[in-house]
């Protein structure tokens, strides 16, 4: 009974709390604090380590993120229909996910060490900058442990029919904690620590992810604004 109650909280209650805080937090932040919405770059204070750390981290994480989307939201039946067997899928996931995950992991450690050890950067950081990096280290450590150690050396774990199914059940508002009962503890911890990341997300520098400027591609080069019309005029 005790375990059931904990399971309900972890896999049916907390996910919705997290999603609610994530969405409402962003709305609140966007509406009230545009001035605080920034990538919070410290490149001007130190460029050398940022160049290595930031690029490894961001590009690595981008691929890891896409991998998660496919792994959790695309049911195995679809990839099977595309002619990819489960074994093949698993191998690709481990190689590609493992490699990009490792790159991002090295990157996040460079960023954390840089922030801690370079005087200028440390002195101009606030608690949220360290919190975000620490949470990322925890989440990514667990994720890499699952991918590169548990899956390879202990036992290949089929997360698509368990965790994937659970994510789908949460997103379709029919959260089913039963999918999670036999999931190894290290996978469970990976997910729970991710809750923490998503909970602080709207209130930290992580909001800059939404500002990736894809609309820049369409935009005119020169922008004018008029006081009466607030018209955006383009030149060339």
């Amino acid at each position: 009974m005790m375990m059931d109650a904990l399971g309900d909280v972890l896999w049916a209650f907390l996910p919705y709390i997290t999603i609610a805080v994530f969405i409402l937090g962003h709305v609140y932040k966007y509406a009230t604090d545009q001035y605080g919405w920034s990538s919070k770059s410290s490149e001007i204070l130190d460029r050398r380590w940022l160049g290595v750390g930031s690029q490894l981290f961001h590009w690595g994480l981008l691929i890891v993120f896409l991998g998660h989307i496919i792994g959790l939201l695309v049911p195995p039946s679809i990839t099977l229909a595309m002619g990819i067997t489960d074994e093949e899928y698993h191998r690709i996931a481990i190689i590609l996910g493992g490699a990009s995950g490792l790159a991002a992991y090295v990157g996040v450690w460079i960023l954390l060490l840089r922030r801690s050890l370079i005087n200028r950067v440390r002195a101009t950081s606030d608690a949220s900058d360290f919190l975000v990096l620490a949470l990322l280290v925890v989440v990514m450590s667990l994720g890499l442990y699952n991918t590169l150690y548990y899956d390879i050396f202990i036992h290949p774990f089929d997360y698509r029919t368990t965790i994937g199914a659970w994510v789908m059940s949460v997103l379709t508002l029919h959260a089913n904690p039963n999918y999670m009962t036999n999931v190894p503890i290290s996978f469970q911890l990976h997910i729970v620590s991710t809750y923490a990341l998503f909970l602080v997300w709207p209130f930290t520098r992580l909001v800059h992810m939404w500002s990736y400027p894809i609309f820049y591609l369409k935009r005119a080069w020169i922008l004018y604004r008029g006081q009466e019309t607030s018209e955006v005029v383009a030149n060339a």
Partner: protein, 513 residues
């Protein structure tokens, strides 16, 4: 033709004494805050020298401005797609050490020291509080200090311009944001936070839209955008727009003890900006920029200006603009580094050099123009150096301007001596009236002649009556029906809804005569 107005400045280098009153008053007004200690919206450099930040003119390093690529203008930091790929790390960003690490002094030590020895207030970093050694600052090579090590790194110096002691020269170069007609910072900003104001041409950064991607810092060839390390947003010279809107000069101009700054309106053809910036021969960039500065007395221009809701008092101001006179009528003012192709709207009157060497032992009163003008090339400051800086290498323009400045001196001196000598004026194509007017504007430089600034027509944009007492209470504006139209929130929505109006979108525009 789409005529718009741009508030512009002329800086008379001939009279700059390098006192930095402009820099200090600007700093006290705008950047006296943590995060922008190192930001000097106005700074004064000694030339030759590497300027501030270090070697800002080195565009191989910083990738500022535009370049012509097969007749087409493109940003030196590359196109839009590359921006999306470099967004996690901008390799062309200056580092803080290219400026300097801001510091203060440990003043408490002066009164608390109990060692019995002479106490010293040690410098400490404003970033992390640790004691630092000072080895660079905002005006480190003031008055050629550190030369030739420092001055010889100046990109404008060429081999033939020697720095030998007996030929040493220097002059001061005050710099603010140029509020360009073709601003590369605006083009490089991925967030669309930087914009040019339609009414007065002032280029501003929307602090609420800036996301701290930092490409503006690289793209501005003048390095006049500074990244605030505390708010993580870019900031720049605002041309003191709250003062300009009220008809007052910028703080740097107001407090200039030499009265060397002039502010006035220029009308320009917004439809031709791209064409003017794309002329293939960089030596013709000054000329092409002048070609899109419109004559405020031309009926066609006035008609088009009115169509773009430029008010009558602004047109009057444009006719009286001292900037227009220096730039177009007398052709003695030039943009800084036109070869960056941003069409900067702050202009410089090049400095004459000491006349002692030139006229050594010769009675100046009996000089004829023929004696003076051939020697313009022997002035202490090499024409070539000035041309590299102000005309993209076009020495003829600088030579003509210096001749004109010299001609007024010859004429005014002869006038004082009771026998007007018009020969010099004739040779440079100026009338006596021109000379007297130039003398009045350059030498007497009365406040009301230097600054011809029409007030902005805020009555068209806001309801000042209802807005009384609302300053700082933006969030309540949505509650007042009369104000709703002007509140930030509704402006933002409107901003999104307005269609992008393409002024000019032709491929491969070429400049033709």
């Amino acid at each position: 033709m789409k005529v718009l107005a741009n508030v512009s400045m002329v800086i008379n280098l001939d009279k700059c004494v390098g006192c930095n009153a402009c820099s200090i008053t600007c700093k006290n007004t705008w950047t006296n805050r943590p995060g922008v200690e190192y930001a000097w919206f106005n700074n004064v450099e000694t030339r030759p020298g590497i300027g501030y930040p270090k070697k800002w003119e080195d565009q191989v390093k910083y990738k500022g401005g535009w370049v012509l690529d097969h007749g087409k203008l493109k940003l030196r930091i590359d196109g839009k797609i590359s921006r999306l790929f470099r967004i996690f790390y901008n390799p062309y960003l200056p580092e803080l050490d290219d400026y300097y690490e801001p510091w203060t002094y440990d003043y408490a030590k002066l009164i608390e020291d109990e060692s019995g020895k002479q106490p010293v207030a040690e410098p400490k970093s404003l970033l992390d509080g640790r004691r630092i050694d000072l080895n660079w600052g905002p005006n480190w090579n003031d008055d050629l200090a550190g030369s030739p090590e420092v001055a010889s790194m100046d990109p404008n110096l060429e081999k033939e311009i020697k720095l030998e002691f007996e030929r040493t020269f220097m002059f001061y170069l005050p710099r603010i944001c140029n509020h360009c007609l073709n601003p590369s910072c605006v083009a490089a900003c991925p967030s669309g936070a930087i914009y040019k104001r339609m009414e007065d041409g002032i280029v501003l950064i929307d602090q609420e839209r800036c996301r701290g991607w930092r490409f503006c810092v690289s793209a501005c060839p003048y390095k006049k955008i500074y990244f605030n390390w505390r708010t993580y947003k870019s900031e720049k010279c605002t041309f003191c727009y709250p003062r300009i809107e009220n008809g007052l000069p910028t703080v740097c101009s107001e407090t200039c003890v030499g009265r060397i700054r002039y502010i006035g309106i220029l009308l320009y053809d917004a439809d031709s900006v791209l064409r003017a910036a794309s002329v293939p021969d960089q030596k013709r960039l000054v000329e092409s920029q002048l070609s899109i500065i419109m004559d405020p007395n031309d009926p066609e221009v006035i008609k088009s200006a009115k169509e773009n809701s430029i008010a009558d008092d602004w047109l009057d101001a444009a006719k009286k603009s001292p900037v227009y006179k220096f730039l177009v009528k007398w052709k003695i003012a030039f943009p800084l580094h036109p070869e960056y192709r941003t069409l900067p709207m702050v202009f410089y009157i090049p400095p004459l050099s000491p006349v002692l060497k030139l006229f050594n032992g010769v009675d100046e009163g009996n000089l004829s123009p023929e004696d003076v003008f051939p020697k313009i090339d022997n002035l202490r400051i090499p024409i070539k150096y000035l041309a590299n800086m102000f005309t993209a290498g076009n020495e003829e323009l600088i030579r003509d301007a210096l001749k004109r400045l010299m001609a007024i001196r010859i004429y005014m001196r002869s006038l004082e001596l009771g026998s007007p000598n018009k020969d010099a004026l004739k040779e440079v194509g100026l009338t006596e009236n021109d000379a007297l007017e130039m003398y009045k504007l350059l030498s007497i430089a009365k406040y009301e002649d230097r600054f011809v600034i029409p007030k902005s027509h805020k009555e068209n944009a806001m309801n000042a009556y209802v807005e009384r007492g609302m300053c700082g209470y933006d969030e309540f504006k949505d509650a007042v029906p009369e104000l709703k139209r002007f509140s930030k929130m509704s402006l933002r929505i409107k901003d999104k809804n307005t269609k992008n109006y393409q002024l000019q979108q032709k491929e491969g525009v070429e400049f033709k005569d």
